[in-house]
C-alpha cells in the first residue's frame, strides 16, 4: 500500500493546453486592460521594426549613391593647403598638372587609369534659359568609364576632338531639364543633341547626352507616375507636381545622382583653350586667388583634380604610396595634394548606419522595457485581485509551480499578442513615415528585424512575468482562501 501511495508524490504538472486557454480567457475577460497593457509592447515592437526598416532604406540609398559616383576602387587626387612646415614654399608649389598625369601613367603600375579634370564653373544658356553648374569640366574621353557615365544619345567626344580642342560637349539630363524641360513637364523626352549651348557665353555644340541616373527607388516612383499618367491623362498635372522631380535635397543619396546628372563634359584641351583664365576660379587649391593664369615651373596648365582607378582594391594603400612617391618628385617634395578615397565615404556611411541603428535600437529598446514594466504592473495588480482564485486552485491541488507557470504564461501571451499586433502596426508606421519623411529612401522591412523584435517582446513578457508569478506561487493557500 505504501509504495502505491508514494507514487502520488510524483506530481504531474498541469498540461500546457488548459493553462494556455486559462491565460487567454483571463486576457479576454479584461479586453481593454489587456490592450492597454499590450500597447507598450506594440509601440516598442513597431518602432523597432520601423526604425530598422528606415535605416535599411537609408543604407541601400547610400550604397547606391556610392556606386553611382564610381565605386570603391576610385581615388581622387585634389590640391591641398600646404602642411605647416612647408607653408613658406607656397610660391614653389606647382599644383596638379598634366605632367603628373604622364608620370602616373608611366610610373604607377598599380593604377590602371588616370583621368585629369579641369573644372570650369559655368553658366549654361540655351533655349532662352540659363543654368549654373559647377559640374562642368574639361576631361579626357576616358572620364566616361572613370565616372561610370553612359551615353544614351549621340556620342562622347574622342581624342581627335580633344586634340583639336573642338567646342563640343556632352551634357546630363539635369542640364537638359533645366534648359529644355524634363520629360515629365514637356510630356516628351527632348534630346538636344546637335543644339548649341552657350557656356559662359562660348558656343558649344552638344554631341551627346548621358542617360538619366537615379536611384532604384526614384526610378520606381517615376515609372509608377508615368503609368498613372497614361491611365488617367487628365490628372497628369496634379500627379506631376511642379517640383516633384527636381531638387537634389529630395533624397539623402539623391544629390549624388543629381550632381551626376548635372555634369557637362568638354574636351580637356577645349577647356584649357577657352577657359584657361577661369581655371583659377574653380575654388580648389590654395592659390586660386593669387594666380589668375596657370603658371608653374613646368608651364603646364593646372588641373583641378585627377581621378585614378586602382587595379586592385586590396592594394589600395600600396597604390596610393606609388602615386605619392611619383607626385612627391614632380612636386619637388611639396605636399600640395591629397588623396580622397571612396573608402572614407563608405566608412562614413557605415558609421552613420551604425549610429542610427544604435540610437534607434536604444529608443525602441527603452519603449519595449517600458512595455515590460507595464505588463509587470498589470500582472501584479491582477494577482492581488485574484488571491482567492489562487487559493482555490491550490486547494484543489495546484502546486506552486503550476501557479507560477500560469501567471508566466499569461504575461508571455500578453507580450506575444502585443508583439504580433506590433508587427502589424509596424507596416502602418513604415507607410506613415515614408509618406511624411523627406528622405525618399523607401524603408525596407526585413524578416530579421521582425524576428528580432518579436523575440524581444517574448523575452520582455517572460521577464515581466517572473516577479508576479513568483509572488503568486508563494501565496499561502490558507490565507489566500480567507482573502476577501
Amino acid at each position: 500500500m505504501s509504495s502505491q501511495s508514494k507514487d502520488i508524490l510524483i506530481h504531474s504538472s498541469a498540461q500546457f493546453g488548459p493553462t494556455l486557454i486559462a491565460g487567454l480567457r483571463e486576457i479576454w475577460a479584461h479586453k481593454f486592460r489587456s490592450l492597454l497593457t499590450m500597447l507598450g509592447i506594440i509601440l516598442g515592437v513597431s518602432s523597432l521594426v520601423a526604425m530598422s526598416a528606415l535605416v535599411k532604406g537609408m543604407e541601400k540609398g547610400a550604397k547606391e549613391a556610392l556606386i553611382a559616383v564610381g565605386g570603391l576602387d576610385k581615388v581622387r587626387v585634389e590640391p591641398q593647403e600646404l602642411p605647416v612646415e612647408q607653408r613658406h614654399l607656397q610660391d614653389q608649389a606647382v599644383g596638379i598638372t598634366m605632367n603628373d598625369v604622364t608620370v602616373i601613367q608611366n610610373g604607377a603600375p598599380l593604377i590602371t587609369r588616370v583621368s585629369p579634370e579641369m573644372r570650369v564653373p559655368v553658366t549654361a544658356s540655351a533655349n532662352g534659359k540659363t543654368f549654373r553648374t559647377f559640374m562642368c569640366m574639361g576631361v579626357w574621353p576616358v572620364a566616361l568609364e572613370m565616372m561610370e557615365h553612359e551615353i544614351e544619345h549621340g556620342r562622347m567626344f574622342n581624342e581627335i576632338d580633344d586634340e583639336m580642342a573642338r567646342s563640343v560637349c556632352v551634357i546630363g539630363t539635369a542640364t537638359r531639364n533645366e534648359l529644355w524641360g524634363s520629360p515629365e513637364e514637356v510630356g516628351k523626352e527632348i534630346v538636344p543633341v546637335g543644339e548649341t549651348i552657350y557656356l559662359n557665353g562660348v558656343p558649344f555644340t552638344i554631341i551627346g547626352m548621358f542617360k538619366h541616373y537615379e536611384s532604384e527607388q526614384d526610378r520606381k516612383t517615376r515609372e509608377l507616375q508615368a503609368k498613372q499618367a497614361i491611365n488617367s491623362p487628365t490628372n497628369q498635372p496634379a500627379q506631376t507636381g511642379p517640383q516633384r522631380n527636381r531638387g537634389y535635397s529630395r533624397t539623402s543619396g539623391g544629390w549624388a545622382f543629381w550632381i551626376k546628372n548635372a555634369t557637362i563634359y568638354m574636351p580637356l584641351n577645349t577647356a584649357y583653350m577657352k577657359f584657361r583664365s577661369g581655371v583659377s576660379l574653380t575654388g580648389f587649391g590654395p592659390r586660386s586667388q593669387s594666380s589668375s593664369t596657370p603658371s608653374g615651373a613646368t608651364g603646364d596648365p593646372r588641373l583641378s583634380s585627377l581621378e585614378l582607378r586602382i587595379r586592385d582594391f586590396d592594394h589600395l594603400p600600396e597604390a596610393l604610396q606609388q602615386v605619392r612617391n611619383l607626385l612627391m618628385s614632380t612636386h619637388k617634395g611639396i605636399e600640395d595634394f591629397t588623396f580622397r578615397t571612396q573608402e572614407e565615404w563608405a566608412e562614413a556611411i557605415n558609421t552613420f548606419i551604425h549610429n542610427a541603428r544604435l540610437s534607434g535600437g536604444l529608443i525602441a529598446g527603452i519603449s519595449l522595457l517600458v512595455g515590460g514594466i507595464g505588463i509587470m504592473n498589470i500582472m501584479l495588480a491582477s494577482i492581488s485581485e485574484r488571491v482567492r482564485e489562487i487559493g482555490i486552485r491550490k486547494s484543489v491541488g495546484a502546486s506552486n509551480g503550476d501557479i507560477f507557470f500560469q501567471i508566466l504564461v499569461e504575461s508571455t501571451v500578453i507580450a506575444m499578442l502585443g508583439g504580433f499586433l506590433g508587427l502589424g502596426t509596424s507596416f502602418a508606421l513604415v507607410r506613415l513615415i515614408s509618406t511624411i519623411s523627406p528622405t525618399g529612401n523607401a524603408p525596407i522591412v526585413t524578416a530579421t528585424a521582425m524576428l528580432i523584435a518579436f523575440g524581444f517582446s517574448v523575452c520582455v513578457g517572460i521577464l515581466a512575468g517572473l516577479l508576479p508569478a513568483f509572488k503568486a506561487a508563494r501565496l499561502n493557500p490558507i490565507q489566500a482562501l480567507r482573502y476577501e
Binding site: 500500500m1 505504501s2 501511495s5 508514494k6 502520488i8 508524490l9 510524483i10 506530481h11 504531474s12 504538472s13 498541469a14 498540461q15 493546453g17 488548459p18 493553462t19 480567457r25 483571463e26 475577460a29 482567492r388 482564485e389 487559493g391 482555490i392 486552485r393 491550490k394 486547494s395 484543489v396 491541488g397 495546484a398 502546486s399 506552486n400 509551480g401 503550476d402 493557500p477 490558507i478 482562501l481
Partner: protein, 245 residues
C-alpha cells in the same frame, strides 16, 4: 491502520514573540468510511486541525499519516499532489471560480492531475450527475443559487475520487432547508462509502454525524459517539485507538 492518524500534533504560531498554541498535542484517528464532525467555537483550533488534516498546512510537531503517507515533513509540491488526489474540500463560501462555468469548475482538479481533455469532461459530467447538477453544466456560478453552487463544489471535490472529503461549515451560507438537503447529500455519499469530515460550530449539524469530536482551546474536549457501533460502518471498533476523555 486508520485512514488518518494524528499523533501528538501541535501547531504553534508566533505572533510578536507570543506563542499561540492553535493545536496542543492532539491525537486522532479517522477510519475509512466514517462520517465525522469536528465541532468547536471559533478560535478553538478546529480550522487549524482541518487545515492540517487537509494538507493545507503542516504541524509544528507530531506526526500525521494520511492513507499511509507521512505528511508532517512533506514538501509543498507533495502536499499539492496529496490535496489533488486524496482530498476534496467543500467550503462555506463555495469557492467556485466565477469566470469558469460549472463544468470547467468541476474539471479544475483534473487539470492539475493531468487527465486528458476527453476523460476530464466525462468524469466531470459523471460527478455533476452524482449531485444532480448535470443540466446546469454550462451555467456560470453566479447564475446558480447557493445550494446549487454548493452541489457543484461537492462535485468538484469528488471528481478526483478522493479518499477523504472535508466540509468546512458547508451549510453556513445556506438557509436551513437547503442546508438540510446538502447534509442529506453528505449522508448519502457516506452511505456510498465516502469518508467525510464536517467542520462546524453548530451542534445541530454535528448531531447528524455518528461521531463527533469537540475541540476547545486547541485540545480535544470530548468525543461523543451517539450512535450505535453498527451504524457507524465499523468505525466504532477503531475509534478507541485514542482514549476517551
Amino acid at each position: 491502520m486508520a485512514l488518518v492518524e494524528l499523533r501528538n500534533v501541535s501547531k504553534i504560531y508566533r505572533l510578536g514573540g507570543e506563542e499561540i498554541r492553535a493545536l496542543d498535542n492532539v491525537s486522532l484517528d479517522i477510519e475509512d468510511g466514517e462520517l465525522i464532525s469536528i465541532i468547536g467555537p471559533s478560535g478553538s483550533g478546529k480550522s487549524t486541525l482541518m487545515h492540517i488534516l487537509g494538507c493545507l498546512d503542516t504541524p509544528t510537531s507530531g506526526t500525521v499519516c494520511l492513507d499511509g503517507i507521512m505528511i508532517q515533513n512533506a514538501s509543498q509540491r507533495e502536499l499539492a499532489a496529496i490535496r489533488n488526489r486524496k482530498i476534496g474540500f467543500v467550503f462555506q463560501f463555495f469557492n467556485l471560480l466565477p469566470k469558469l462555468n460549472v463544468l470547467q469548475n468541476v474539471e479544475l482538479p483534473m487539470i492539475y492531475s493531468g487527465v486528458p481533455g476527453g476523460e476530464r469532461r466525462k468524469r466531470a459530467l459523471a460527478a455533476l450527475e452524482a449531485v444532480d447538477m448535470v443540466n446546469r453544466a454550462r451555467h456560470r456560478p453566479s447564475q446558480l443559487s447557493g445550494g446549487q453552487q454548493q452541489r457543484v463544489a461537492i462535485a468538484r471535490a469528488l471528481v478526483n475520487n478522493p479518499r477523504i472529503l472535508f466540509a468546512d461549515e458547508p451549510t453556513g451560507n445556506l438557509d436551513s432547508h437547503t442546508g438540510e438537503a446538502i447534509l442529506s447529500l453528505f449522508r448519502k455519499l457516506n452511505q456510498d462509502g465516502r469518508t467525510i469530515v464536517l467542520v462546524t460550530h453548530d451542534p445541530e449539524i454535528a448531531a447528524v454525524t455518528p461521531r463527533r469530536i469537540e475541540i476547545r482551546d486547541g485540545r480535544i474536549a470530548s468525543k461523543i459517539d451517539l450512535t450505535l457501533a453498527g451504524l457507524a460502518r465499523g468505525s466504532a471498533q477503531a475509534s478507541p485507538a485514542s482514549p476517551p476523555s
